[in-house]
Protein backbone atom coordinates (compact mmCIF):
# COMPACT_ATOMS: atom_id res chain seq x y z
CA UNK A 1 0.00 0.00 0.00
CA UNK A 2 2.71 2.47 0.90
CA UNK A 3 4.76 1.93 -2.26
CA UNK A 4 2.36 3.69 -4.59
CA UNK A 5 4.31 4.38 -7.73
CA UNK A 6 3.93 7.40 -9.95
CA UNK A 7 1.93 5.36 -12.39
CA UNK A 8 -0.46 4.36 -9.63
CA UNK A 9 -0.91 7.98 -8.70
CA UNK A 10 -1.47 8.97 -12.32
CA UNK A 11 -4.05 6.21 -12.64
CA UNK A 12 -5.87 7.39 -9.51
CA UNK A 13 -5.83 10.98 -10.76
CA UNK A 14 -7.17 9.95 -14.17
CA UNK A 15 -10.08 7.89 -12.83
CA UNK A 16 -10.99 10.45 -10.18
CA UNK A 17 -10.81 13.28 -12.70
CA UNK A 18 -12.99 11.28 -15.11
CA UNK A 19 -15.54 10.70 -12.39
CA UNK A 20 -15.43 14.38 -11.47
CA UNK A 21 -16.30 15.33 -15.06
CA UNK A 22 -19.90 14.26 -14.47
CA UNK A 23 -20.71 16.64 -11.59
CA UNK A 24 -18.72 19.35 -13.36
CA UNK A 25 -20.81 18.96 -16.53
CA UNK A 26 -24.03 19.10 -14.52
CA UNK A 27 -22.80 22.26 -12.79
CA UNK A 28 -21.64 23.83 -16.04
CA UNK A 29 -24.99 23.20 -17.74
CA UNK A 30 -26.77 25.08 -14.96
CA UNK A 31 -24.26 27.92 -14.92
CA UNK A 32 -24.10 28.30 -18.71
CA UNK A 33 -27.86 28.39 -19.15
CA UNK A 34 -28.36 30.66 -16.15
CA UNK A 35 -25.83 33.18 -17.50
CA UNK A 36 -27.20 33.00 -21.04
CA UNK A 37 -30.83 33.22 -19.95
CA UNK A 38 -30.37 35.87 -17.28
CA UNK A 39 -30.98 38.93 -19.51
CA UNK A 40 -34.45 37.64 -20.40
CA UNK A 41 -35.34 36.70 -16.83
CA UNK A 42 -34.14 40.08 -15.55
CA UNK A 43 -36.10 42.02 -18.15
CA UNK A 44 -39.40 40.14 -17.92
CA UNK A 45 -39.37 38.79 -14.35
CA UNK A 46 -42.33 36.61 -13.51
CA UNK A 47 -44.19 37.70 -16.64
CA UNK A 48 -41.77 35.49 -18.56
CA UNK A 49 -43.64 32.55 -17.11
CA UNK A 50 -47.14 34.04 -17.00
CA UNK A 51 -47.34 36.01 -20.25
CA UNK A 52 -48.47 34.51 -23.54
CA UNK A 53 -47.01 37.26 -25.66
CA UNK A 54 -44.11 35.81 -27.67
CA UNK A 55 -43.23 38.39 -30.27
CA UNK A 56 -39.59 38.43 -31.39
CA UNK A 57 -40.15 41.51 -33.57
CA UNK A 58 -41.56 43.57 -30.71
CA UNK A 59 -39.06 42.08 -28.26
CA UNK A 60 -41.80 40.62 -26.06
CA UNK A 61 -41.22 37.16 -24.66
CA UNK A 62 -43.65 35.21 -22.48
CA UNK A 63 -43.30 31.45 -22.36
CA UNK A 64 -46.66 30.55 -20.82
CA UNK A 65 -48.01 28.68 -23.89
CA UNK A 66 -44.85 26.56 -24.13
CA UNK A 67 -44.90 25.80 -20.41
CA UNK A 68 -48.60 24.95 -20.58
CA UNK A 69 -48.09 22.75 -23.64
CA UNK A 70 -45.18 20.94 -22.02
CA UNK A 71 -47.15 20.16 -18.88
CA UNK A 72 -50.36 19.14 -20.67
CA UNK A 73 -48.73 16.95 -23.31
CA UNK A 74 -46.50 15.24 -20.74
CA UNK A 75 -49.28 14.70 -18.22
CA UNK A 76 -51.53 13.24 -20.90
CA UNK A 77 -48.74 11.01 -22.17
CA UNK A 78 -48.12 9.77 -18.64
CA UNK A 79 -51.85 9.11 -18.20
CA UNK A 80 -51.87 6.94 -21.32
CA UNK A 81 -48.49 5.26 -20.98
CA UNK A 82 -48.46 4.71 -17.20
CA UNK A 83 -51.17 2.01 -16.93
CA UNK A 84 -50.02 0.36 -20.16
CA UNK A 85 -46.40 0.23 -19.02
CA UNK A 86 -47.32 -1.12 -15.61
CA UNK A 87 -49.51 -3.76 -17.26
CA UNK A 88 -46.69 -4.81 -19.55
CA UNK A 89 -44.25 -4.96 -16.63
CA UNK A 90 -46.66 -7.14 -14.62
CA UNK A 91 -47.13 -9.32 -17.66
CA UNK A 92 -43.39 -9.77 -18.09
CA UNK A 93 -42.60 -10.39 -14.43
CA UNK A 94 -45.66 -12.26 -13.18
CA UNK A 95 -47.74 -13.79 -15.94
CA UNK A 96 -45.95 -14.26 -19.24
CA UNK A 97 -45.28 -17.84 -20.24
CA UNK A 98 -41.60 -18.44 -20.90
CA UNK A 99 -41.85 -18.54 -24.68
CA UNK A 100 -43.65 -15.17 -24.79
CA UNK A 101 -41.57 -13.29 -22.23
CA UNK A 102 -38.41 -12.77 -24.26
CA UNK A 103 -40.10 -11.66 -27.51
CA UNK A 104 -42.32 -9.11 -25.73
CA UNK A 105 -39.42 -7.81 -23.65
CA UNK A 106 -37.40 -7.51 -26.84
CA UNK A 107 -40.18 -5.61 -28.61
CA UNK A 108 -40.37 -3.14 -25.74
CA UNK A 109 -36.62 -2.69 -25.84
CA UNK A 110 -36.68 -2.00 -29.56
CA UNK A 111 -39.39 0.59 -29.00
CA UNK A 112 -36.95 2.38 -26.70
CA UNK A 113 -34.19 2.19 -29.31
CA UNK A 114 -36.14 3.97 -32.07
CA UNK A 115 -34.72 7.49 -32.49
CA UNK A 116 -36.96 10.43 -31.73
CA UNK A 117 -36.75 11.76 -35.29
CA UNK A 118 -38.08 8.46 -36.65
CA UNK A 119 -41.04 8.68 -34.28
CA UNK A 120 -41.60 12.20 -35.57
CA UNK A 121 -41.48 11.07 -39.19
CA UNK A 122 -44.00 8.33 -38.47
CA UNK A 123 -46.07 10.82 -36.52
CA UNK A 124 -46.30 13.33 -39.38
CA UNK A 125 -47.16 10.87 -42.12
CA UNK A 126 -49.04 8.08 -40.34
CA UNK A 127 -50.32 9.03 -36.90
CA UNK A 128 -51.47 12.58 -37.65
CA UNK A 129 -53.55 11.68 -40.75
CA UNK A 130 -54.98 8.73 -38.84
CA UNK A 131 -56.03 10.98 -35.96
CA UNK A 132 -57.54 13.56 -38.26
CA UNK A 133 -59.49 11.14 -40.40
CA UNK A 134 -60.71 8.64 -37.83
CA UNK A 135 -59.93 9.36 -34.21
CA UNK A 136 -60.88 13.03 -33.98
CA UNK A 137 -64.25 12.62 -35.77
CA UNK A 138 -64.89 9.57 -33.60
CA UNK A 139 -64.20 11.46 -30.37
CA UNK A 140 -66.09 14.58 -31.41
CA UNK A 141 -69.08 13.16 -33.29
CA UNK A 142 -69.59 9.47 -32.53
CA UNK A 143 -68.93 9.91 -28.82
CA UNK A 144 -70.51 13.41 -28.86
CA UNK A 145 -67.58 14.89 -27.00
CA UNK A 146 -67.32 17.74 -29.52
CA UNK A 147 -69.17 20.08 -27.18
CA UNK A 148 -66.73 19.61 -24.34
CA UNK A 149 -63.84 22.07 -24.38
CA UNK A 150 -61.31 19.23 -24.47
CA UNK A 151 -62.37 17.94 -27.88
CA UNK A 152 -63.89 21.02 -29.50
CA UNK A 153 -62.98 22.93 -32.63
CA UNK A 154 -61.78 21.82 -36.01
CA UNK A 155 -59.39 18.91 -36.37
CA UNK A 156 -56.06 20.51 -37.23
CA UNK A 157 -53.30 18.66 -39.02
CA UNK A 158 -51.04 18.96 -36.01
CA UNK A 159 -52.30 18.92 -32.45
CA UNK A 160 -51.65 18.54 -28.76
CA UNK A 161 -53.37 15.16 -28.98
CA UNK A 162 -50.89 13.90 -31.57
CA UNK A 163 -47.97 15.10 -29.42
CA UNK A 164 -49.35 13.40 -26.31
CA UNK A 165 -49.91 10.12 -28.15
CA UNK A 166 -46.46 10.01 -29.68
CA UNK A 167 -44.96 10.90 -26.29
CA UNK A 168 -46.94 8.10 -24.70
CA UNK A 169 -45.51 5.58 -27.15
CA UNK A 170 -42.02 6.93 -26.58
CA UNK A 171 -42.00 6.89 -22.77
CA UNK A 172 -43.82 3.57 -22.43
CA UNK A 173 -40.69 1.40 -22.80
CA UNK A 174 -38.77 3.47 -20.22
CA UNK A 175 -41.51 3.22 -17.61
CA UNK A 176 -42.02 -0.47 -18.22
CA UNK A 177 -38.28 -1.21 -18.05
CA UNK A 178 -37.94 0.50 -14.66
CA UNK A 179 -41.19 -1.04 -13.39
CA UNK A 180 -39.94 -4.45 -14.45
CA UNK A 181 -36.70 -3.99 -12.51
CA UNK A 182 -38.59 -2.78 -9.47
CA UNK A 183 -41.08 -5.67 -9.57
CA UNK A 184 -38.23 -8.12 -9.91
CA UNK A 185 -36.62 -6.66 -6.80
CA UNK A 186 -39.61 -7.67 -4.67
CA UNK A 187 -38.39 -10.63 -2.59
CA UNK A 188 -39.76 -14.03 -3.49
CA UNK A 189 -40.72 -14.62 0.15
CA UNK A 190 -43.15 -11.71 -0.08
CA UNK A 191 -44.96 -13.44 -2.95
CA UNK A 192 -44.82 -16.91 -1.45
CA UNK A 193 -46.29 -15.71 1.84
CA UNK A 194 -49.29 -14.25 0.03
CA UNK A 195 -49.80 -17.36 -2.08
CA UNK A 196 -49.45 -19.60 0.96
CA UNK A 197 -52.30 -17.67 2.59
CA UNK A 198 -54.49 -18.65 -0.35
CA UNK A 199 -54.31 -15.45 -2.38
CA UNK A 200 -54.88 -15.58 -6.13
CA UNK A 201 -52.10 -14.23 -8.32
CA UNK A 202 -53.80 -10.87 -8.59
CA UNK A 203 -54.43 -10.68 -4.84
CA UNK A 204 -50.78 -11.52 -4.31
CA UNK A 205 -49.80 -8.63 -6.59
CA UNK A 206 -52.27 -6.21 -5.06
CA UNK A 207 -51.54 -7.01 -1.43
CA UNK A 208 -47.90 -8.14 -1.41
CA UNK A 209 -46.06 -6.98 -4.52
CA UNK A 210 -47.45 -3.52 -5.35
CA UNK A 211 -47.22 -2.10 -1.79
CA UNK A 212 -43.62 -3.26 -1.59
CA UNK A 213 -42.76 -1.84 -5.01
CA UNK A 214 -44.81 1.34 -4.76
CA UNK A 215 -42.11 3.95 -4.39
CA UNK A 216 -40.05 2.35 -7.16
CA UNK A 217 -43.04 2.28 -9.49
CA UNK A 218 -43.75 5.94 -8.78
CA UNK A 219 -40.09 6.58 -9.54
CA UNK A 220 -40.47 4.80 -12.88
CA UNK A 221 -43.46 6.97 -13.73
CA UNK A 222 -41.46 10.09 -12.85
CA UNK A 223 -38.60 8.95 -15.07
CA UNK A 224 -41.11 8.63 -17.89
CA UNK A 225 -42.44 12.08 -17.08
CA UNK A 226 -38.91 13.47 -17.22
CA UNK A 227 -38.45 11.98 -20.68
CA UNK A 228 -41.75 13.38 -21.86
CA UNK A 229 -41.02 16.88 -20.56
CA UNK A 230 -37.77 17.12 -22.50
CA UNK A 231 -38.62 15.14 -25.61
CA UNK A 232 -37.92 17.36 -28.57
CA UNK A 233 -37.87 16.17 -32.16
CA UNK A 234 -40.99 14.01 -32.38
CA UNK A 235 -43.04 16.61 -30.54
CA UNK A 236 -41.72 19.47 -32.67
CA UNK A 237 -42.83 17.57 -35.75
CA UNK A 238 -46.44 16.93 -34.71
CA UNK A 239 -47.53 19.58 -32.18
CA UNK A 240 -47.95 22.45 -34.63
CA UNK A 241 -45.67 25.00 -32.94
CA UNK A 242 -48.25 27.70 -32.21
CA UNK A 243 -47.91 30.15 -29.32
CA UNK A 244 -51.39 29.63 -27.98
CA UNK A 245 -53.10 28.13 -24.98
CA UNK A 246 -56.15 26.22 -26.07
CA UNK A 247 -58.25 23.94 -23.90
CA UNK A 248 -58.92 21.73 -26.91
CA UNK A 249 -56.55 18.83 -27.48
CA UNK A 250 -57.36 19.11 -31.19
CA UNK A 251 -55.64 22.49 -31.41
CA UNK A 252 -51.93 22.97 -32.08
CA UNK A 253 -49.65 24.07 -29.27
CA UNK A 254 -46.01 24.38 -28.29
CA UNK A 255 -43.66 22.83 -25.75
CA UNK A 256 -40.52 24.33 -24.20
CA UNK A 257 -38.30 21.86 -26.00
CA UNK A 258 -39.96 22.33 -29.39
CA UNK A 259 -39.86 26.11 -28.96
CA UNK A 260 -36.08 25.98 -28.58
CA UNK A 261 -35.65 23.50 -31.43
CA UNK A 262 -37.82 25.57 -33.72
CA UNK A 263 -36.66 29.13 -33.10
CA UNK A 264 -33.10 28.93 -31.86
CA UNK A 265 -31.31 28.95 -35.18
CA UNK A 266 -33.52 31.82 -36.40
CA UNK A 267 -33.11 33.94 -33.28
CA UNK A 268 -31.34 37.12 -34.33
CA UNK A 269 -31.69 39.55 -31.43
CA UNK A 270 -29.71 38.90 -28.24
CA UNK A 271 -32.93 39.09 -26.22
CA UNK A 272 -34.54 36.37 -28.34
CA UNK A 273 -31.54 34.09 -27.77
CA UNK A 274 -31.56 34.88 -24.06
CA UNK A 275 -35.28 34.13 -23.87
CA UNK A 276 -34.80 30.74 -25.49
CA UNK A 277 -31.91 30.07 -23.11
CA UNK A 278 -34.17 30.99 -20.21
CA UNK A 279 -36.75 28.53 -21.51
CA UNK A 280 -33.96 25.95 -21.62
CA UNK A 281 -33.05 26.80 -18.02
CA UNK A 282 -36.66 26.32 -16.90
CA UNK A 283 -36.77 22.99 -18.71
CA UNK A 284 -33.46 21.97 -17.15
CA UNK A 285 -34.58 22.81 -13.62
CA UNK A 286 -37.89 21.01 -14.07
CA UNK A 287 -36.41 17.84 -15.53
CA UNK A 288 -33.57 17.86 -13.02
CA UNK A 289 -36.01 17.90 -10.10
CA UNK A 290 -38.22 15.23 -11.67
CA UNK A 291 -35.28 12.97 -12.50
CA UNK A 292 -33.55 13.40 -9.16
CA UNK A 293 -36.78 12.56 -7.34
CA UNK A 294 -37.36 9.57 -9.59
CA UNK A 295 -33.86 8.18 -9.08
CA UNK A 296 -34.16 8.58 -5.36
CA UNK A 297 -37.45 6.66 -5.29
CA UNK A 298 -36.15 3.87 -7.53
CA UNK A 299 -33.05 3.49 -5.39
CA UNK A 300 -35.18 3.23 -2.29
CA UNK A 301 -36.78 0.08 -3.69
CA UNK A 302 -33.73 -1.40 -5.35
CA UNK A 303 -31.33 -0.85 -2.47
CA UNK A 304 -32.07 -4.12 -0.70
CA UNK A 305 -31.17 -5.93 -3.92
CA UNK A 306 -27.98 -4.07 -4.72
Amino acid sequence: MNNRSGADRAYAVFTTASAAVIPIVVGLVFIALAIAGWPALRQFGTSFITSSAWDPVAGQFGAAPAIYGTLVSSALALLIAGPLALGVALFLVEFAPGWLREPVAFAVELLAAIPSVVYGLWGIFVLVPLLRRYVMPFLADTLHLGNTPLFSGPAYVTSMLAAALILAIMILPYISAVSREVLRAVPRSQREAALALGATRWEMIRDAVLPYARSGLVGGLMLGLGRALGETMAVTMVIGNQHQISASLFAPGYTMASLIANEFSEATTPLHVASLMAVGLLLLVTTFIVNAGARWLVWQTGRSRA
Binding site: V117, E203, F264
Partner: protein, 291 residues
Protein backbone atom coordinates in the same frame (compact mmCIF):
# COMPACT_ATOMS: atom_id res chain seq x y z
CA UNK B 1 -62.22 -6.48 2.40
CA UNK B 2 -63.47 -10.05 2.41
CA UNK B 3 -65.72 -9.32 5.37
CA UNK B 4 -68.24 -7.61 3.14
CA UNK B 5 -68.79 -10.86 1.28
CA UNK B 6 -69.97 -12.77 4.33
CA UNK B 7 -73.52 -12.99 3.05
CA UNK B 8 -72.31 -14.66 -0.14
CA UNK B 9 -71.54 -18.37 0.00
CA UNK B 10 -67.83 -19.20 0.10
CA UNK B 11 -68.02 -20.90 -3.27
CA UNK B 12 -69.44 -17.89 -5.06
CA UNK B 13 -66.91 -15.72 -3.32
CA UNK B 14 -64.00 -17.85 -4.49
CA UNK B 15 -65.37 -18.06 -7.98
CA UNK B 16 -65.51 -14.29 -8.12
CA UNK B 17 -61.95 -13.98 -6.84
CA UNK B 18 -60.73 -16.34 -9.52
CA UNK B 19 -62.72 -14.47 -12.15
CA UNK B 20 -61.12 -11.16 -11.13
CA UNK B 21 -57.74 -12.85 -11.26
CA UNK B 22 -58.40 -14.05 -14.80
CA UNK B 23 -59.63 -10.62 -15.91
CA UNK B 24 -56.48 -8.95 -14.59
CA UNK B 25 -54.26 -11.48 -16.32
CA UNK B 26 -56.20 -10.98 -19.54
CA UNK B 27 -55.72 -7.20 -19.27
CA UNK B 28 -51.96 -7.55 -18.93
CA UNK B 29 -51.95 -9.79 -22.03
CA UNK B 30 -53.97 -7.15 -23.87
CA UNK B 31 -51.59 -4.38 -22.78
CA UNK B 32 -48.58 -6.41 -23.87
CA UNK B 33 -50.20 -6.93 -27.26
CA UNK B 34 -51.09 -3.22 -27.54
CA UNK B 35 -47.49 -2.26 -26.83
CA UNK B 36 -46.19 -4.20 -29.80
CA UNK B 37 -48.67 -2.46 -32.15
CA UNK B 38 -46.74 0.82 -32.50
CA UNK B 39 -43.47 -1.06 -33.05
CA UNK B 40 -44.96 -3.16 -35.83
CA UNK B 41 -46.75 -0.15 -37.30
CA UNK B 42 -43.53 1.89 -37.40
CA UNK B 43 -41.50 -0.92 -38.95
CA UNK B 44 -44.26 -1.65 -41.48
CA UNK B 45 -44.56 1.96 -42.66
CA UNK B 46 -40.80 2.39 -42.79
CA UNK B 47 -40.53 -0.50 -45.21
CA UNK B 48 -43.58 0.51 -47.27
CA UNK B 49 -42.71 4.19 -47.59
CA UNK B 50 -38.94 4.07 -47.60
CA UNK B 51 -37.86 0.93 -49.41
CA UNK B 52 -38.59 2.34 -52.88
CA UNK B 53 -36.21 5.26 -52.33
CA UNK B 54 -33.48 3.09 -50.90
CA UNK B 55 -30.79 2.46 -53.48
CA UNK B 56 -27.06 2.36 -53.84
CA UNK B 57 -27.12 5.94 -55.13
CA UNK B 58 -29.02 7.04 -52.04
CA UNK B 59 -26.16 5.79 -49.88
CA UNK B 60 -23.33 7.43 -51.82
CA UNK B 61 -24.68 10.72 -53.22
CA UNK B 62 -25.09 14.10 -51.58
CA UNK B 63 -28.53 15.78 -51.75
CA UNK B 64 -29.62 17.42 -55.01
CA UNK B 65 -31.13 20.93 -54.89
CA UNK B 66 -34.89 21.10 -54.33
CA UNK B 67 -36.80 20.29 -57.51
CA UNK B 68 -34.19 17.98 -58.95
CA UNK B 69 -34.86 14.32 -58.40
CA UNK B 70 -32.22 11.91 -57.20
CA UNK B 71 -29.47 12.60 -54.74
CA UNK B 72 -29.04 10.85 -51.45
CA UNK B 73 -27.72 11.00 -47.96
CA UNK B 74 -24.18 9.77 -48.52
CA UNK B 75 -22.68 12.92 -47.05
CA UNK B 76 -24.97 12.60 -44.02
CA UNK B 77 -23.87 9.00 -43.49
CA UNK B 78 -20.22 10.01 -43.54
CA UNK B 79 -21.02 13.01 -41.35
CA UNK B 80 -22.73 10.81 -38.78
CA UNK B 81 -19.75 8.46 -38.70
CA UNK B 82 -17.37 11.41 -38.14
CA UNK B 83 -19.58 12.79 -35.37
CA UNK B 84 -19.77 9.39 -33.69
CA UNK B 85 -15.99 8.95 -33.85
CA UNK B 86 -15.51 12.32 -32.13
CA UNK B 87 -18.20 11.41 -29.61
CA UNK B 88 -16.54 8.07 -28.87
CA UNK B 89 -13.13 9.75 -28.45
CA UNK B 90 -14.65 12.13 -25.91
CA UNK B 91 -17.11 9.83 -24.22
CA UNK B 92 -15.37 6.48 -23.96
CA UNK B 93 -12.11 7.32 -22.12
CA UNK B 94 -13.84 9.61 -19.64
CA UNK B 95 -16.78 7.25 -19.22
CA UNK B 96 -14.61 4.19 -18.67
CA UNK B 97 -12.32 6.14 -16.33
CA UNK B 98 -15.30 7.28 -14.29
CA UNK B 99 -16.65 3.72 -14.26
CA UNK B 100 -13.31 2.42 -12.95
CA UNK B 101 -13.37 4.93 -10.15
CA UNK B 102 -17.01 4.11 -9.26
CA UNK B 103 -16.29 0.37 -9.18
CA UNK B 104 -13.03 0.59 -7.24
CA UNK B 105 -14.16 2.97 -4.55
CA UNK B 106 -17.92 2.48 -4.57
CA UNK B 107 -18.85 3.89 -1.16
CA UNK B 108 -17.10 7.24 -1.12
CA UNK B 109 -19.05 10.50 -1.19
CA UNK B 110 -17.63 11.31 -4.61
CA UNK B 111 -18.74 7.98 -6.05
CA UNK B 112 -22.24 8.23 -4.60
CA UNK B 113 -22.62 11.76 -5.91
CA UNK B 114 -21.24 10.87 -9.33
CA UNK B 115 -23.49 7.83 -9.63
CA UNK B 116 -26.56 9.85 -8.77
CA UNK B 117 -25.69 12.75 -11.07
CA UNK B 118 -24.79 10.36 -13.89
CA UNK B 119 -28.28 8.90 -13.74
CA UNK B 120 -29.84 12.36 -13.60
CA UNK B 121 -27.65 13.58 -16.48
CA UNK B 122 -28.81 10.58 -18.51
CA UNK B 123 -32.37 11.81 -18.18
CA UNK B 124 -31.77 15.47 -19.02
CA UNK B 125 -33.33 16.62 -22.30
CA UNK B 126 -31.01 16.36 -25.27
CA UNK B 127 -32.13 19.78 -26.51
CA UNK B 128 -30.71 21.24 -23.29
CA UNK B 129 -27.39 19.55 -24.06
CA UNK B 130 -27.67 21.11 -27.52
CA UNK B 131 -27.99 24.71 -26.35
CA UNK B 132 -25.37 24.05 -23.66
CA UNK B 133 -22.89 22.94 -26.33
CA UNK B 134 -23.87 25.95 -28.44
CA UNK B 135 -23.23 28.33 -25.55
CA UNK B 136 -19.88 26.75 -24.66
CA UNK B 137 -18.47 25.85 -28.07
CA UNK B 138 -20.33 27.47 -30.95
CA UNK B 139 -20.84 30.93 -29.48
CA UNK B 140 -17.16 31.57 -28.63
CA UNK B 141 -16.01 30.14 -31.99
CA UNK B 142 -18.69 32.08 -33.90
CA UNK B 143 -19.62 29.20 -36.19
CA UNK B 144 -21.26 25.79 -36.21
CA UNK B 145 -18.86 22.89 -36.43
CA UNK B 146 -18.61 19.11 -36.58
CA UNK B 147 -16.37 19.30 -33.53
CA UNK B 148 -19.06 20.99 -31.41
CA UNK B 149 -21.62 18.40 -32.49
CA UNK B 150 -19.34 15.48 -31.76
CA UNK B 151 -18.42 16.84 -28.34
CA UNK B 152 -22.10 17.39 -27.50
CA UNK B 153 -22.81 13.73 -28.33
CA UNK B 154 -19.67 12.61 -26.49
CA UNK B 155 -20.68 14.39 -23.30
CA UNK B 156 -24.04 12.64 -23.48
CA UNK B 157 -22.23 9.30 -23.71
CA UNK B 158 -20.14 9.82 -20.56
CA UNK B 159 -22.79 9.00 -17.92
CA UNK B 160 -24.12 6.03 -19.92
CA UNK B 161 -20.66 4.51 -20.40
CA UNK B 162 -19.66 5.23 -16.79
CA UNK B 163 -22.65 3.37 -15.38
CA UNK B 164 -22.38 0.29 -17.62
CA UNK B 165 -18.63 0.11 -17.08
CA UNK B 166 -19.15 0.19 -13.34
CA UNK B 167 -21.72 -2.58 -13.51
CA UNK B 168 -19.51 -4.77 -15.67
CA UNK B 169 -16.46 -4.23 -13.45
CA UNK B 170 -18.44 -5.21 -10.40
CA UNK B 171 -19.08 -8.61 -11.94
CA UNK B 172 -15.35 -9.33 -11.92
CA UNK B 173 -14.59 -11.47 -8.84
CA UNK B 174 -12.60 -9.70 -6.13
CA UNK B 175 -10.38 -12.79 -5.87
CA UNK B 176 -9.02 -12.03 -9.33
CA UNK B 177 -7.92 -8.56 -8.26
CA UNK B 178 -6.47 -9.88 -5.03
CA UNK B 179 -4.55 -12.58 -6.84
CA UNK B 180 -2.97 -10.03 -9.16
CA UNK B 181 -2.04 -7.73 -6.28
CA UNK B 182 -0.61 -10.69 -4.35
CA UNK B 183 1.57 -11.51 -7.34
CA UNK B 184 3.09 -8.07 -7.00
CA UNK B 185 1.19 -6.22 -9.74
CA UNK B 186 0.85 -2.52 -9.09
CA UNK B 187 -2.67 -1.20 -8.63
CA UNK B 188 -2.98 0.42 -12.04
CA UNK B 189 -1.68 -2.67 -13.81
CA UNK B 190 -4.10 -4.83 -11.86
CA UNK B 191 -6.98 -2.55 -12.80
CA UNK B 192 -6.09 -2.25 -16.47
CA UNK B 193 -4.65 -5.64 -17.40
CA UNK B 194 -6.65 -7.89 -15.09
CA UNK B 195 -9.94 -6.31 -14.00
CA UNK B 196 -10.66 -4.14 -17.03
CA UNK B 197 -9.58 -6.85 -19.41
CA UNK B 198 -11.84 -9.43 -17.80
CA UNK B 199 -14.79 -7.07 -18.20
CA UNK B 200 -13.89 -5.94 -21.72
CA UNK B 201 -16.77 -7.77 -23.38
CA UNK B 202 -19.37 -6.13 -21.21
CA UNK B 203 -17.79 -2.71 -21.48
CA UNK B 204 -17.68 -2.92 -25.28
CA UNK B 205 -21.34 -3.85 -25.22
CA UNK B 206 -22.13 -0.84 -23.05
CA UNK B 207 -20.11 1.41 -25.33
CA UNK B 208 -21.99 0.12 -28.38
CA UNK B 209 -25.34 0.75 -26.73
CA UNK B 210 -24.25 4.30 -25.88
CA UNK B 211 -23.09 4.90 -29.45
CA UNK B 212 -26.35 3.50 -30.82
CA UNK B 213 -28.29 5.85 -28.60
CA UNK B 214 -26.47 9.03 -29.55
CA UNK B 215 -26.41 7.96 -33.21
CA UNK B 216 -30.13 8.71 -33.40
CA UNK B 217 -29.93 12.02 -31.54
CA UNK B 218 -31.05 15.05 -33.49
CA UNK B 219 -31.70 17.80 -30.97
CA UNK B 220 -28.07 18.20 -29.75
CA UNK B 221 -26.91 18.61 -33.35
CA UNK B 222 -29.41 21.28 -34.45
CA UNK B 223 -27.26 24.16 -33.22
CA UNK B 224 -23.85 22.52 -33.20
CA UNK B 225 -23.20 20.31 -36.26
CA UNK B 226 -26.09 22.20 -37.91
CA UNK B 227 -26.23 20.06 -41.07
CA UNK B 228 -24.80 20.54 -44.52
CA UNK B 229 -26.13 19.89 -48.02
CA UNK B 230 -22.64 19.23 -49.34
CA UNK B 231 -19.75 16.88 -48.70
CA UNK B 232 -17.59 18.10 -45.86
CA UNK B 233 -14.92 16.39 -43.84
CA UNK B 234 -13.75 19.48 -41.99
CA UNK B 235 -14.16 19.37 -38.23
CA UNK B 236 -14.32 23.16 -38.05
CA UNK B 237 -17.28 23.50 -40.44
CA UNK B 238 -20.94 22.52 -40.29
CA UNK B 239 -21.42 18.86 -41.13
CA UNK B 240 -24.38 16.76 -42.26
CA UNK B 241 -25.77 14.05 -40.01
CA UNK B 242 -28.31 11.36 -40.81
CA UNK B 243 -30.88 12.31 -38.12
CA UNK B 244 -30.67 16.00 -39.07
CA UNK B 245 -31.14 15.18 -42.73
CA UNK B 246 -34.17 12.99 -41.94
CA UNK B 247 -35.66 15.83 -39.91
CA UNK B 248 -35.12 18.45 -42.60
CA UNK B 249 -36.48 16.22 -45.33
CA UNK B 250 -39.47 15.10 -43.23
CA UNK B 251 -40.74 18.64 -42.68
CA UNK B 252 -39.92 19.79 -46.24
CA UNK B 253 -42.85 20.33 -48.63
CA UNK B 254 -41.49 18.05 -51.41
CA UNK B 255 -42.75 14.49 -51.88
CA UNK B 256 -39.38 13.33 -53.13
CA UNK B 257 -37.65 14.63 -50.00
CA UNK B 258 -40.30 13.06 -47.75
CA UNK B 259 -39.67 9.71 -49.44
CA UNK B 260 -35.95 10.15 -48.89
CA UNK B 261 -36.60 10.90 -45.22
CA UNK B 262 -38.25 7.48 -44.94
CA UNK B 263 -35.33 5.82 -46.68
CA UNK B 264 -32.92 7.62 -44.36
CA UNK B 265 -34.96 6.45 -41.38
CA UNK B 266 -34.58 2.84 -42.57
CA UNK B 267 -30.80 3.26 -42.69
CA UNK B 268 -30.67 4.95 -39.29
CA UNK B 269 -32.92 2.39 -37.66
CA UNK B 270 -31.06 -0.52 -39.21
CA UNK B 271 -27.83 0.87 -37.79
CA UNK B 272 -29.30 1.37 -34.33
CA UNK B 273 -31.07 -1.99 -34.27
CA UNK B 274 -28.08 -4.02 -35.45
CA UNK B 275 -25.95 -2.54 -32.66
CA UNK B 276 -28.69 -3.00 -30.05
CA UNK B 277 -29.36 -6.59 -31.04
CA UNK B 278 -25.65 -7.46 -31.13
CA UNK B 279 -25.20 -5.89 -27.70
CA UNK B 280 -28.22 -7.72 -26.36
CA UNK B 281 -27.06 -11.09 -27.64
CA UNK B 282 -23.60 -10.52 -26.14
CA UNK B 283 -24.98 -9.48 -22.75
CA UNK B 284 -27.50 -12.28 -22.58
CA UNK B 285 -24.88 -14.90 -23.12
CA UNK B 286 -22.85 -13.32 -20.36
CA UNK B 287 -25.57 -13.01 -17.72
CA UNK B 288 -27.79 -15.99 -18.32
CA UNK B 289 -26.90 -17.41 -14.96
CA UNK B 290 -27.22 -14.10 -13.09
CA UNK B 291 -30.76 -13.57 -14.30
Amino acid sequence: MSGSHRAVSPNTHNRRRRAINRVVIAITYLFAALTTVPLLAILFYLLVRGASSLSFGFLVHAPKPAGETGGGMGNALVGSVILLVIAALVGLPVGVGAGLRLAERPRTTLSNTVRFLADVLNGLPSIVMGIFAWQLLVRPMHHFSALAGGIALGVMMIPMVARTTEEMLRLVPVSLREAALALGYTRWRTSITVVLRTATGGIVTGALVAIARVAGETAPLLFTAFGNQFWSLSLARPIAALPLQIFNYAIAPYDDWNAQAWAGAIVLLAFVFVISVAARVATRRRHDSAD
